[in-house]
């Protein structure tokens, strides 16, 4: 910018000085105009780049809804998969998804929250804690299919759990564990130290402080992380395919609730299953276009549920941030 000003330093007669300054002034003005134009051009490009990502989401969703529109009815949810595309439904897939998610929840939430509490509240500052921390960060970057390989080797064959709902739930539970741990830690960290000190001052033990105060006040933040994790688990396909889940299931797992005492049975845990994304993958990989319509409808359903879950989580976080002022 300064280039124009210094190169033509006026050293001659006063009148000429005037002229050269005026000339420079024009050059400077032109330059300012040019740079402002650059600003403007970039802000348009930036907006387009942002819109590109968001428009994709919109097009993707619109495309799925349009392609799968004719299958949007209750019959689609209450029929088993079939060789005839028009009769095929999602019953076994959504029931399977629900049961797998239940196991995932029961695995990931207690373990993730406990690990988060330990790392934030208990862990001494030493190499051991560092090791756990590095591990959690690292796990978040492991491709999901590798969890599938772990499950195939460990759960399916070494522990002999087979290709069951329990295996799938455990796998997805481990997969979303880092998400739950990180969100737990973040929301715990937001609680001021004064709250803890106040509780200690009236004689609370560490666990009383942690359970009655720290955990209860970070509830919202943890919930946000759990919802995001569960949404991820719902859409996760690769690890479940890797454990060898069947793609054509025309039966339901035994019901978890029975009408005879003790009213709960655990047979469903070891039952074969399929889940929504696998059903979608199965229909998608068939050459027959009629099945692609089913895949689109399934995709629309998955996307609606995950968007709703993620949307709830984001809204919740927004509310928490706005409401709590320590």
């Amino acid at each position: 910018m300064s280039k124009h000003m210094t190169t033509n330093t006026p050293t001659k007669a006063p009148i000429q000085v005037q002229a050269s300054v005026l000339k420079n002034l024009d050059a400077v003005r032109a330059m300012i105009k040019r740079h402002k134009l650059n600003d403007y051009i970039f802000s348009v490009i930036g907006l387009l780049a942002l819109m590109f990502a968001l428009l994709t989401l919109l097009i993707l969703f619109g495309d799925l809804v349009m392609d799968g529109f004719e299958r949007f009815n209750l019959k689609f949810l209450s029929e088993f998969p079939s060789r005839r595309a028009a009769n095929a439904g999602l019953l076994s897939a959504w029931v399977g998804s629900a049961l797998v998610m239940l196991v995932t929840f029961l695995v990931a939430v207690p373990m993730g929250v406990a690990a988060g509490l330990y790392l934030e509240e208990y862990a001494p500052k030493n190499w051991f804690s560092d090791l756990i921390e590095i591990n959690v960060t690292n796990l978040a970057g492991v491709p999901s299919i590798v969890y599938g390989l772990l499950a195939l080797g460990l759960f399916v064959y070494i522990l002999g759990l087979g290709q069951s709902i329990l295996t799938a739930g455990l796998t997805l539970g481990l997969l979303i564990l880092p998400i739950v741990i990180v969100s737990t830690r973040e929301s715990i960290r937001a609680i001021p130290i004064a709250i803890r000190e106040a509780a200690y001052a009236v004689g609370a033990t560490k666990w009383q402080v942690v359970y009655d105060h720290v955990l209860k006040y970070s509830y919202g933040g943890i919930l946000t992380g759990v919802i995001i994790g569960m949404a991820r688990a719902l859409g996760e396909t690769a690890p479940i395919i890797t454990i060898g889940a069947l793609t054509f299931i025309a039966f339901l797992p035994p019901s978890p609730v029975t009408d005879v005492a003790p009213f709960i049975n655990f047979e469903w845990l070891s039952s074969g299953f399929t889940v929504l994304p696998i059903q979608m993958f199965n229909w998608l990989s068939r050459p027959d276009h009629a099945f692609h319509i089913n895949a689109a409808a399934t995709g629309a359903l998955i996307i609606i549920v995950t968007l709703l879950m993620n949307g709830t989580a984001i809204y919740l976080r927004y509310k928490i941030r706005k409401n709590i002022k320590w």
């Binding site: 910018m1 650059n38 780049a49 591990n135 690292n138 491709p143």
Partner: protein
């Protein structure tokens, strides 16, 4: 006798007061709870260890049949054929090609979005756009696979009529779109961490927003931005469903995105869908492939974290 000896001669009362007993019980309970919490935290370490152990264990049996030299130099990957070849190169080339296409899409768009969000967008725009980007991150990958196969490929086929139905180009582009929000938000975080005073200094010298963004903020945040790219690469390499659906399943050595080729992840899915007996060479081969995949992503992840940590400028 003085008082001290008197006290010493008295019998010592050894019963523990109820209060102390309560304290002891409390203490034990506290310890047990801490131990349980620690076990939960250790589950993360246990997961990592078991991943490594399982991959190594199954791969070791694989490498008893296949020599390492063959594995890394053979240009054919046909473990399930009569005439079996075990060269990982075709799968690696497919993985690298799709990832390269993805990055060619994601890096420019992600960087520009990050600069715009951090330096140009109003507070209100940012508040609206950031959650939307997060929503995009949450879209399941199988849905993106549908998008690549049945939406983007037909469009691309109109532009390039010779494009096969399964190709690395559309899978790569869609993967790129998938990682745009990821790169954008990491890079934006890095740029927002640049202190305001540096921007103010630049503005005070008469620089425009664009000049400040490209010549002051971006260089200052470059380590974070590069780390975002590297973590993006690691994501692209490990991505499974998009390539399994849309990129094809022929393992060939090719760096031409217009062709159809299998990636490491697509191969694992393909084998897992079939019914391979436990302990067969085909079964072991997916663990060897997984080990290579894990190795590649781990390298990128560590590199990303190192760059972010080491070259982060402290202001």
């Amino acid at each position: 006798m003085n008082t001290a000896t008197q006290m010493l001669n008295q019998p010592i009362n050894l019963t523990i007061s109820p209060r102390l007993a309560k304290n002891v019980r409390r203490n034990i309970k506290e310890r047990i709870i801490e131990f349980i919490l620690m076990l939960a935290a250790l589950s993360a370490v246990a997961t990592t260890l078991s991943i490594v152990a399982i991959l190594l264990y199954e791969s070791l049996s694989f490498f008893k049949t296949v020599s390492l030299v063959d594995f890394f130099t053979d240009t054919q990957w046909t473990p399930l054929f009569e005439d079996a070849h075990y060269g990982i190169l075709p799968l690696v080339s497919g993985t690298l090609t799709t990832s390269a296409v993805a990055l060619a899409v994601a890096i420019p768009i992600g960087t520009i979005s990050a600069i715009y969000l951090s330096e140009f967008a109003s507070h209100k725009t940012r508040e609206i756009v950031k959650p939307l980007l997060e929503l995009l991150v949450g879209v399941p990958t199988i849905v993106f696979g549908y998008f690549a196969l049945l939406f983007l490929t037909p469009i691309l086929q109109k532009i390039f009529p010779e494009l096969p139905g399964f190709n690395m180009l559309s899978a790569g582009i869609v993967m790129g779109i998938m990682i745009v929000p990821y790169i954008a938000s990491l890079a934006e975080d890095a740029m927002r961490a640049v202190p305001m005073s540096m921007r103010e200094g630049s503005y005070a010298m008469g620089a425009t927003r664009f000049q400040t963004a490209t010549r002051v903020v971006t260089p200052a945040a470059i380590s974070g931005i590069v780390a975002a790219y590297i973590l993006g690469i690691s994501r692209a390499v490990g991505e499974t469903m998009v390539v399994a659906v849309a990129a094809g399943q022929q393992p060939i050595v090719s760096f031409n995105p217009m062709e159809s080729a299998a990636t490491i992840t697509a191969y694992i899915v393909q084998v897992a869908l079939g019914d391979l007996p436990h302990g067969s060479i085909g079964y072991q081969s997916i663990f060897a492939a997984g080990l290579v995949l894990m190795g590649i992503t781990l390298c990128f992840n560590i590199l990303g974290h190192l760059i972010r940590k080491k070259y982060r400028e402290h202001y």
